[in-house]
Subunit: 216 residues, 2 copies
């Protein structure tokens, strides 16, 4: 695989071709891209619920709030798609750092510094994906009782999908933190990840409440 092979414009790519690339021996796109894609689909579902609520007389009391939720979800969807490509960029930079010459003493130090910087970035990107997914859950949580009840199930699906995006991102944060030497940065990133994982748990609780409600 060449470096160029993992730089692609995801939104324009057909769904089937994206999945083909995901399944191929190219290590990117991989788990990081899946976390970002799950975030984008969850955000789109929140948007859909907003679009099926806004402008209908029955939900006029919550029009302003649901409009804000819908528009914010649209922004998060775009951000998740950007993060999908940032994940590939971070991966490419990490591979480039590992390929630096390792012979001489000075080169060795430069290589280690480059690897550490690229590793920190490779941990930061999934953390940013997790932050986006956490925002999607926060938005989804505003909908029950305010949005069109005919699509309440979609709020549940959005919540559980965004929660999985956070948990998927956590795996990718962990794998990069394992090779990060700076213990202070490591502790800060771990603390941030734990905050997002707490929101993931809330998302799963929201989905459980939705299941209870739709089953009535």
């Amino acid at each position: 695989m060449t470096d160029d092979a993992i730089s692609y414009p995801t939104p324009g790519q057909p769904v089937g071709a994206w999945l083909d690339e995901l399944g191929s021996a190219a290590p990117a796109p991989g788990g990081g891209a899946v976390a970002a894609m799950s975030t984008a689909t969850a955000a789109a579902l929140v948007e859909m619920v907003g679009n099926l609520t806004v402008g209908r007389a029955a939900y006029a009391d919550h029009e302003e709030q649901v409009t804000a939720v819908r528009d914010a979800a649209h922004g998060l969807r775009q951000r998740a798609l950007e993060q999908l490509d940032e994940d590939a960029t971070a991966f490419r930079a990490l591979m480039t750092a590992y390929r630096l010459p390792r012979q001489a003493g000075q080169e060795q130090a430069a290589r280690q510094a480059a690897i550490q910087a690229a590793t920190q970035r490779a941990a930061a990107v999934p953390l940013e994906v997790a932050a986006t997914a956490a925002e999607v859950i926060e938005l989804a949580g505003q909908l029950p009782g305010r949005s069109n009840p005919n699509v309440l199930s979609d709020v549940g699906v959005a919540a559980v999908t965004a929660a999985a995006a956070i948990e998927a991102a956590a795996v990718n944060v962990d794998v990069n933190l394992a090779s990060l030497a700076d213990t202070e940065v490591k502790a800060a990133l771990t603390a941030e990840l734990d905050r997002h994982l707490a929101v993931a748990a809330q998302g799963r609780q929201l989905a459980a409440r939705v299941r209870d409600q739709v089953a009535r």
Copy 2:
């Protein structure tokens, strides 16, 4: 929205356009499509891990098993994409049934029968998606210790994503079972769903084990 608007060839559609449709006021694609898409992405990740393992001397001992896992995952990815479109078809049939004339007594009975049949199908499709996702988890579970450890994190992401697909499908099963009159069919479908949800819990445990391992 016309019925034709929800019949589309998903794999050929650009990723961005698919997300646009998901986010739009059209109720399909919706949560059912997201469950199927999560299943397809999880299956593709299992394939990727297989493709980065098969043919490498270091993992020759497990070549046969990992090849079988990879090939089965490829089949599940294709099945999930078919189910994505079956979800739209089932939704379309349900909408058609609800639009049948409701005036005369005989028409009323025919309409009710059509709605019940379409509702059962609308519950059956997400159940089939959950079954596919459960198979993805079973395949992912065969990989740790046998596949390329450099992409162990992707096994974790696959497991958590397939688990979310099952939990998302559960919301869609529940919402349809709520309006299904046949208590025997309802009990059978619920029992099947519970089996898949148990596999989802196993998938989340697998992901937790992967996180432990990659963090070392």
